[in-house]
Amino acid sequence: MNMTMAEKVMARASGQAQAKAGQYVTAKPDRMMVHEAFAACAWILKSMGIKELYDPNRVVVMLDHYFPAPSVSMADVHIMIRQAVEEFGIKHFLGYSGICHQVMCESGHVIPGRLILGTDSHTTSYGAFGAAGTGIGQTEMSYVLATGEIWMMVPYTIRFHLTGGPVPGIMGKDIILQIAGDYGTEAAQYRSIEFYGPVADRMCLSDRQTMSNMGVEIGAKFSFFEADEKAVAYVRKRTDEPVDAFGPDEGAAYEATHIVDITDMEPQVAFPHNPGNVKPISSTGNVPVAQAYLGSCTNGRLEDIAVAAHILKGRKVHPKTRMLIAPASKEVILEATKCGYTRDLMEAGAHILPAGCGACPGGHMGLLGGGEACISSTNRNFRGRMGSENAHVYLGSPATVAASAITGRLTDPREFWNETTV
């Protein structure tokens, strides 16, 4: 049987030669990624008298949603997490490195063909490296931590054939937003996605991570790109484990194939309060923004910051707008500093924040007040997501965020930037 990427991963993870879409299996994940939800997991396990995890070496614990601690109570939660990490003998504690999904990739835990469960919906990001990443809640994670296994359905797969272009001024973010707008936020509900085609092939890993990350905004369980030479080279530098290219079998069965031609694509913006409420930048009208937010697991990487730095270098952030930059990891901040990007951005008037989830889920460091609008490179613009229930979040690419920061309103980045990335 010729298998999709999802079928191949699920076959291996369930100890079978083959797996078929629609089948229910008991799967053993290769990695479990747990952020601050580990506090709840540890509490659940301890309250049941469970002192040993199935395999602590498969577990990676992070602190990112509340890092640095925004309150004494969260500082105490972090203490509890660190204690539990020691008690359970977990070696992979990466609590101070940045946002979980970025750090998982940087630290070599995301390997093509592997199954990775995380206590975060954006675990789909790992599909950029051909890994099957998906989110679960803390109760299910507790069960997996204790037993090493969980029920899963082998998902049906839909493909997006990315073709056309190259197009200057467009990023991976614009493509996934346009897909959410055109195909709806349920286009991949319960399904695995495979992005492929010439645009996917030439796309940088960072843009692939953005698209895999936001696969969950259209419902996806997994959100794959083929792990090609580029992906394999990145992962090999970061792990001693064997790393091989990984893709679907020829002739695998797909539920649907959608063709996305980017040739005439404009930068895209998702209007409040849903990631599927998408408009091309030319029809957004006059929307003043009080805040421009660049960061998150979706778009807080070096490539994203580089684009913003190119746009803002020698220019100034609008006096009525504040620009906040929360890089996805410490490694990203360091590299951005070595490249001179942080200086360019600060000279333009932007603030550089610590690496972490920050204001994206509504935690801290840049929440919105009533009536304020924010252009954001993040992934969700649900009502109240980044602060006040009366705030308005517009999602766009890092280029759109940077351009809008200059003018103080939603702005076509091509006014300032004409480079080709996809």
Partner: protein, 168 residues
Amino acid sequence: MKTIISGKVWKFGHNIDTDAMAPWKTLNAGWEERSSSVLHIRPGFIDQVGSGDIIVAGRNWGCGSSREQAAENMKLLGIGAVVAESFGRIYFRNSVAIALPSIACTGVYDAFGEGDEMEINLNTSRVFNLTRGIELKGEPYTPDMLKIIEKGGLMNVLKERMSEHQGG
């Protein structure tokens, strides 16, 4: 847990997200504070809803975050079940894990008005509108899912599994 559930219906629309069910600022708060903002998109709902009432929703109920509090808050509000055209994937899994009955059922949104009486058979996923005399067929649970729900949640399954290991 009972496998026949009945109750009065409250209706919600499409794409009701996890952040509307469990806003970030309340995730770690006690129930009193948490409850005040559950489904804040519909002011007054938490004061009107009664124990055992059922939510009927449109497409993609629970889209968004992995936060389990979204499903947990429904349970704490006393909601007996949620029957929706479709569910966000992680929300659906979470609701199975904490034994909150959630049935995906095409046509349910149009078949029920607010205040109608619903009866659900969890074994068959059949959904009845007792007020209007309509019967619909929802997507059935797998035996594994049904077992988790009948045992009152995945943690009870884990407890049994652990005691079997210790006993054996």
